[in-house]
């Protein structure tokens, strides 16, 4: 079950637009915000709150790249490798992140913290290439030095976690 707060937000969305169904995509995003991804029961619950068939909700959940059907790391690092970024060092950026995190693109660190993604999608930051999207935040102009800084930020909480465990 989604929390009462998320359910309330979804209800508010269904009343915002000229048609209830317009709220379906925002509602799925709200459910994902709470759960971290969209398990089948969350998709079904959203469908019922908005008043559409489960199939209608699945049509969206399986289409959009920002909607996820599987759990991932708490931090999602997406590296754009489309042409403008590729011409400005995106392959190097991806390699550095991969080495620094100890995972290949598409994988999540063993502690479940960080997921690294290589995407051919362009994020509209080509003048500050190469770049990565870290959850909602654009990290732009990722020179080798700036990449090391980003890696430190990504790895710091996990190192702290290991130290306190030891």
């Amino acid at each position: 079950m989604l929390s009462a707060e998320t359910q309330e937000k979804i209800r508010a969305e269904t009343e915002r637009y000229p048609s209830r169904r317009t709220a379906l995509l925002p509602a799925l995003k709200l459910a994902q915000e709470e759960r971290g991804y969209l398990p089948p029961e969350a998709v079904a619950e959203v469908a019922e709150l908005v008043g559409v068939s489960h199939a209608a909700a699945w049509e969206l959940a399986t289409f959009y790249s920002m909607l996820r059907l599987e759990p991932e790391g708490r931090v999602r690092v997406e590296v754009c490798v489309q042409l403008p970024c590729a011409l400005a060092g995106a392959e190097r950026l991806l390699r550095d992140l991969s080495a620094g995190l100890g995972i290949a693109p598409g994988q999540t660190t063993p502690d479940g913290e960080v997921t690294l993604i290589r995407t051919p999608e362009c994020f509209g930051a080509c003048h500050r290439a190469p770049m990565a999207r870290v959850n909602e935040v654009y990290r732009e102009s990722l020179t080798p030095e700036a990449t090391q800084q980003l890696l430190q930020e990504l790895n710091a909480p996990r190192q702290q976690g290991r130290e306190s465990a030891a």
């Binding site: 915002r16 637009y17 000229p18 048609s19 169904r21 317009t22 709220a23 379906l24 995509l25 925002p26 799925l28 995003k29 908005v50 559409v52 209608a56 049509e59 969206l60 289409f63 959009y64 790249s65 920002m66 909607l67 490798v81 489309q82 042409l83 403008p84 590729a86 011409l87 400005a88 060092g89 995106a90 392959e91 190097r92 390699r95 995407t119 051919p120 999608e121 362009c122 994020f123 509209g124 930051a125 080509c126 003048h127 500050r128 290439a129 999207r133 909602e136 654009y138």
Partner: protein, 427 residues
């Protein structure tokens, strides 16, 4: 360099957006007040027609004419602003929205009034969270000041503006897919006719305009169409245009200039600071991944809709990706095709299946595992997609392939002969 003063990006580079007070201090919302209190919708449409403004999203269709297709008469009508900026190499709408959200809101108010729409949507790509938050805040400011909302300036006109965030899908930049997405359906393009002006959002008359197009509208109404046509090359290439410059240039960025004011070469050298290492330009993609590459011998072409079309390509969104002499054209084509493969919505079989095959064959060729027959295979596959799909995006998906073969066939042949790529890696 030209002494042109930017209008749309007058505040580029600001870390925070222009506030309502700051925008009003530079005559912001004066055009909207004049329109709402003194002008008829028809008069607004005539002014925009007279300005010569053409759609800045890519197609370059005359904006005033698009508005005039909306039937008069009662019933709901909608204005949808296309802020789903997802074409590789395009980052202009983002800068307008992040630095001057009120410019877009004033443009929306005037444009919605012109087509008698009382509900407008800004469909913004989900990744542009910063821009979307700034628009939400600016809409709240404008509403609190009585600039939008109920009975604006004491007139009978009311307007509500919604910011609707997408969720990662290039296809939503296609106007009928955008409408499907707004309706809560899978964003797959519709068959036309009917066109959106007749049957669009919720099956009602709808206009879909790009962010940059709408951002031009306040200036046209503030200073008049006659003033607007002094910018650019009248009658068909008027007004300012933002050129997004990326790829192999020293100073990538957004450059706002009058249409037709500079050539490819001038933009790259004078504004972009030339190519790193003083290397030569091999070609320029003028509209991201979607328009044919313009080879180096055409770099003296003026940057306006008609000149770029005459040079065998398309100005489109004016997202110029510069490729230098060390860039492998086969690899560039493969990378762009990977984008189309990823973004094909899957509705039309030729695009859904064809983009996958194009990408696969391009990768094989780039890695030196291709044969001469593969070049013909690419052209034949492209012919099976182009013109055989519902939307322009399917057609666009073939241009990285056909244009690089047309202009740089010898590079394909060298890969096959050598059994490897002769160019440096992108590492």
């Amino acid at each position: 360099m030209s002494d042109y003063q930017p209008l749309l990006l007058a505040h580029a580079g600001r870390p925070t957006p222009l506030s309502l007070e700051e925008y009003q201090a530079e005559d912001g919302y004066t055009a909207w007040k004049k329109v709402a209190t003194e002008m008829t919708p028809e008069a607004v449409i005539e002014e925009v027609k007279a300005s010569g403004l053409r759609g800045r999203g890519g197609a370059g269709f005359p904006t005033g004419m698009k508005w005039s297709f909306v039937p008069k008469g009662p019933g709901d009508k909608y204005l949808c602003v296309n802020a789903d900026e997802s074409e590789p190499g395009t980052f202009k709408d983002r800068e307008i929205m992040e630095t001057n959200p009120h410019l877009l809101i004033e443009g929306i108010a005037i444009s919605a009034y012109a087509i008698s729409s009382r509900v407008a949507f800004i469909y913004i790509r989900g990744e542009y969270a910063v821009a979307a938050d700034r628009l939400d805040a600016a809409i709240a400011e404008a509403k609190a000041a009585g600039l939008i909302g109920n009975k604006i300036f004491g007139t009978e006109y009311s307007l509500e503006i919604h910011v609707f965030r997408g969720a990662g899908a290039y296809i939503c930049g296609e106007e009928t897919a955008l409408l499907e997405s707004l309706e809560g359906r899978r964003p797959m393009p519709r068959s036309r006719p009917p066109f959106p002006a007749v049957e669009g959002l919720y099956r009602r008359p709808t206009v879909v305009n790009n962010v940059e197009t709408i951002a031009n509208v306040p200036f046209i109404l503030r200073h008049g169409a006659a003033w607007y046509t002094t910018i650019g090359v009248p009658p068909k290439n008027t007004g300012p245009k933002i050129f997004c410059l990326s790829g192999r240039v020293n100073r990538p960025g957004n450059y706002e200039l009058p249409l037709g004011a500079v050539t490819f070469r001038e933009l790259i050298d004078t504004y972009g600071g030339g190519v790193p290492g003083g290397r030569a330009v091999k070609g320029v993609l003028p509209a991201g991944a979607s328009a044919p590459v313009v080879p180096a011998d055409k770099l003296d072409t003026k940057l306006d809709y008609d000149s770029v079309a005459a040079a065998g390509s398309m100005l489109g969104s004016a997202s110029l990706i510069v490729l230098d002499e060390t860039t492998c054209m086969v690899r560039a084509a493969a990378r762009m095709e990977e984008f189309f493969r990823h973004e094909s919505c899957g509705k039309c079989t030729p695009c859904r299946e064809g983009t996958g095959w194009l990408h696969k064959v391009l990768v094989r060729l780039e890695e030196g595992r291709g044969t001469a027959a593969d070049i013909d295979l690419l052209l034949s596959l492209s012919g099976e997609i182009n013109g055989k799909v519902l939307c322009a995006l399917g057609d666009f998906a073939t241009s990285p392939v056909t244009a690089t073969i047309r202009h740089f066939r010898e590079e394909y042949v060298r890969h096959i002969e050598l059994g490897r790529c002769p160019f440096p890696s992108w590492n």
